[in-house]
């Protein structure tokens, strides 16, 4: 009798587990998406690309990155420069754009948002400088810059207007911003005041963000270009998981629909590729960049730096990654307008040439005493692989390369000055600021660039480069500007300030029933805008 009771209990537990599993498996119109921890959901403080991905779903930028490069109208219908020196710009807004509250977006909202953005002085506001605003009429707003900028409209792809009245109604006082208290920062952590395709329903920072489709989104939800079964995703659940073993488990079990940060290892990518129920989408790539510190011996010597360029085994390091799109790159990513191939061409190891360069360096007679310090971000295996590859390559020339991976806080802090920056540091730069050409040139090679990890080569001595970079920011004509970018790249490459092992596509793993993106925009954010993705519920039901 007792044994019978135990069996009944076991049966009940198993049955309950099965029922709960079946309940989870029902085909709902919802997509579970993994984004790295969203740090802030406030457009004025959003700073890195994880935040940007969220911004493109909850908010809309004033202008939108275009597939062909540059920007296109979005919240702003048209814009133009008012004066000749590019400090006064006028933007006319699209009419009838609704906030999630149902209220219409006006110039007042845009002006307030810009004042708030600049006033808080955080997030992505840095590259804009000091901007003041004037409301011309309900749909027209003027921006006044503290310095001329021909690329000002492009930089607004990271400016996401908020609803003025809603934010003002939710400010907390006292705060850091005088009469504006906290400028609504606390409230905007768990609420949104945007016009984007999705509306936030809840947010636990660092854990989970839930959003639902905004039916009145100004871009509409047309089915044109989609299959009949492919419908808009009604509900989004952004989870925040950084461990890719766990993510793989979730993907395989069907608990995760889309992963948009692409930190997969090679074996994991192969598993995903071999699984008929899963897919991989590649939209934008990151440039793997190894800076060489021009102020620290021995990389202070240009010939020594060139020797490194030629000694590196590019083909060896790409190896099995090639089938996933890793490959040739330069100062620009190859799919960017204005890309110019840089030395070494062809991208093969040339030890003979490396020896010649070493012979020209001032270390030619004491190579055995020379040590190159290569630092990568601790925990990133593919970066370590590059260091170890270089170590092996340089050993053939009699040069010692010391490879170490300090944790990110230490690693990034090292790059705060030329004195503390190791000989070589490696970073991944994705296209996260428009115009992307400016991001990969002016921001990374001009004396007034972004500094820090973006300019850990510390070389600003070539007046010709500086002049050309300044000219790119002064040239309003896009075609002429592209020509300037093409002109400056070989000059920069001539100094061998970096080497670029490969471009690394960010591969979004998804269930087969998740379809998208409908448009290829090589910029972080738009590709993760779920307005450009659909769900095939019929297929989902079948696969489940």
């Amino acid at each position: 009798m007792k044994i019978k009771g135990v069996w009944c209990l076991i049966f009940a537990i198993v049955a309950m587990s099965l029922v709960s599993l079946l309940a989870i498996g029902a085909a709902e119109n919802v997509a579970v998406i993994n984004g790295y921890p969203v740090i802030t959901a406030d457009p004025a403080t959003a700073s890195d690309w994880y935040d940007t991905e969220t911004m493109y779903n909850l908010y809309s930028p004033l202008v939108y990155p275009a597939p062909e490069g540059g920007v296109r109208p979005h919240l702003a219908a048209i814009w133009d420069v008012v004066d000749g020196d590019f400090t006064h710009w006028r933007f006319t807004l699209r009419q009838g754009v609704k906030f999630h509250s149902g209220n219409e977006l006006t110039a007042e909202d845009v002006a307030f948002s810009m004042t708030r953005f600049i006033g808080m002085g955080r997030g992505n506001s840095g590259p804009l400088g000091q901007v003041t605003t004037t409301v011309v009429d309900r749909y027209t707003v003027d921006f006044f810059l503290d310095k001329p900028s021909v690329i000002f409209p492009d930089t607004l792809a990271l400016f996401f207007p908020v609803e003025k009245d809603l934010v003002l109604a939710n400010i907390k006082t006292p705060g850091n911003y005088g009469e504006f208290g906290d400028y609504g920062e606390d409230w905007l952590t768990t609420h949104d005041a945007g016009t984007g395709p999705y509306m936030m329903t809840s947010h636990i920072p660092g854990q989970r963000l839930d959003a639902t489709r905004f039916v009145d989104y100004f871009q509409g939800w047309s089915n044109e270009g989609w299959e009949p079964d492919e419908v808009p995703i009604e509900r989004l659940i952004f989870i925040m998981e950084t461990d890719y073993t766990t993510l793989m488990t979730l993907l395989k079990s069907g608990d995760l629909d889309l992963e948009i940060n692409g930190g997969w290892t090679l074996p994991q990518l192969q598993q995903i590729k071999d699984d008929a129920n899963l897919g991989l989408a590649s939209v934008w790539a990151q440039n793997v960049t190894v800076w060489m510190n021009s102020k620290a011996p021995p990389t202070a010597d240009e010939h020594f730096r060139k020797a490194i360029l030629y000694a590196f085994d590019y083909e060896g390091i790409v190896g099995p990654w090639e089938e996933f799109g890793n490959g040739e790159t330069g100062i620009f990513l190859p799919n960017m307008p204005g890309y110019v191939p840089i030395d070494p061409q062809p991208r093969v190891q040339n030890l003979e040439r490396a020896r010649q360069e070493l012979a020209l360096s001032k270390y030619a007679n004491n190579l055995g005493d020379v040590k190159v310090v290569f630092h990568f971000c601790g925990g990133l295996d593919f970066e370590e692989d590059i260091g170890l590859q270089l170590q092996a390559d340089m050993a053939q020339l009699g040069v010692t390369v010391e490879v170490a991976g300090p944790p990110w806080p230490q690693y990034s802090a090292e790059c705060s000055s030329p004195e503390s920056t190791p000989n070589m540091t490696i970073f991944l730069f994705g296209p996260q600021a428009t115009p992307t050409q400016d991001y990969y040139t002016y921001s990374m090679f001009a004396p007034n660039g972004l500094g820090w990890i973006f300019e850990a080569h510390w070389y600003f001595e070539d007046p010709e480069i500086i002049e050309l970079l300044d000219a790119t920011r002064a040239e309003p004509d896009t075609v002429k500007r592209l020509a300037l970018y093409e002109q400056v790249q070989p000059l920069i490459a001539e100094h061998a300030l970096a080497f670029y092992p490969y471009q690394k596509p960010t591969l979004f793993a998804h269930q087969a029933y998740i379809v998208g993106p409908s448009e290829t925009i090589v910029f972080i954010g738009p590709s993760e805008n779920m307005h450009m993705w659909r769900i095939n519920l019929t297929l989902k039901e079948t696969l489940r």
Partner: protein
């Protein structure tokens, strides 16, 4: 007894003060720029400098500590430069998740560990003793995260007997937060089915954490039982023909579990800071994981706060252990004036 508790709490205050001073200093000399970490990649040097001013990072150490202490007295642990929220808000969110997990893990380890230890000790040198020894060594030698991955793979992926990750299924809406304990909140919300689901989600991560402690506590209890069984008073009881079960529960068990209770207390506090790998494997939104994120992002206020919470947990749990031991061992009670 009250005097003893009061005295211990007073002593704890000094310990926490020293700890705060120490960690405040260590956090500031750790490499990394907290202002840069707070502002992100595209911040300009001017913005970073302005943030340094705002965070008092350019002030001397003692001035920074003064500001921090002044705010602490007001119940303000500062803002997290990572989550952009008050650290207290973060702690309120994350601590209950970890507490729920380690309470459950401690319960499992206490029951399984002590029962195994008592049986192994009582049936010394039997096959059961040998088997428990082998399993214990295996449990001690296997890191928690390995157990976590193994259990997740076998019971969730292959056998599908247990749910996977998180405190609830991703699609499920959690109950309104009252205590932060998912099971309790579900019951308070009148949703026993949700409580059952939360309990199911708790089982694998709790076992993963408990395994090593089951092994340790089992071995300690066994040794203690063996030692006490050889004492004269037990022999006398046996000679007088007192029933084995009475000897066991009345005279042997009580003194034998004292060392285990002490270890359990330490284990509980230890888990607060060391559960992070299991929390990562199971996507458990807990305090331990928050602490590691704070360290990696050089989130100064959060670092100091999490260390203080761990310190406070150690102090309180040890106090509780002392009180329990006083209850178990009359000699300690008399020595400490607990009457």
């Amino acid at each position: 007894m009250l005097t003893f508790i009061g005295k211990r709490l007073f002593q704890s205050l000094f310990v926490l003060f020293g700890l705060s001073l120490l960690i405040f200093f260590i956090a500031r000399v750790m490499p990394g720029d907290p202002a840069r970490a707070a502002l992100g990649f595209l911040a300009t040097e001017e913005q970073v400098e302005s943030m340094r001013e705002e965070m008092h990072l350019n002030d001397p150490f003692h001035v920074q500590y003064y500001f921090w202490l002044r705010n602490l007295v007001r119940g303000d642990l500062g803002r997290s430069s990572y989550t952009h929220r008050p650290v207290t808000t973060d702690l309120i969110q994350y601590i209950p998740a970890t507490f729920e997990l380690i309470l459950f893990a401690t319960l499992i380890s206490a029951i399984v560990g002590q029962v195994t230890g008592v049986l192994a000790g009582y049936f010394r040198n039997s096959w059961f003793d040998g088997l428990s020894r082998l399993v214990s060594y295996l449990g001690i030698a296997t890191p928690s995260f390995v157990v976590a991955i193994f259990l997740l793979f076998i019971f969730s992926q292959v056998l599908k007997l247990a749910p996977g990750v998180g405190r609830l299924p991703i699609m499920m809406t959690p109950p309104r937060t009252i205590t932060g304990f998912m099971i309790v909140d579900s019951l308070l919300a009148g949703q026993p089915d949700l409580a059952l689901t939360a309990l199911k989600h708790l089982i694998l991560p709790a076992i993963s954490l408990a395994v090593i402690h089951i092994a340790q506590e089992g071995r300690i209890t066994r040794t203690s039982i063996v030692e006490n069984m050889q004492k004269d008073y037990i022999t006398i009881h046996k000679v007088h023909g007192i029933r084995t079960s009475r000897i066991m529960f009345k005279y042997l068990l009580k003194p034998s579990i004292i060392p285990t209770v002490t270890v359990m207390g330490l284990d509980f506090a230890f888990l607060m800071s060391n559960a992070f790998l299991v929390e990562i494997v199971y996507m458990w939104p807990g305090f331990s994981r928050y602490a590691v994120t704070a360290m990696l992002n050089k989130d100064l206020n959060a670092i100091v706060a999490v260390v203080l919470v761990i310190g406070l947990t150690f102090a309180l749990v040890n106090l509780l252990v002392d009180i329990i031991i006083m209850g178990l061992d009359p000699t300690v009670r008399l020595r400490r004036g607990g009457g």
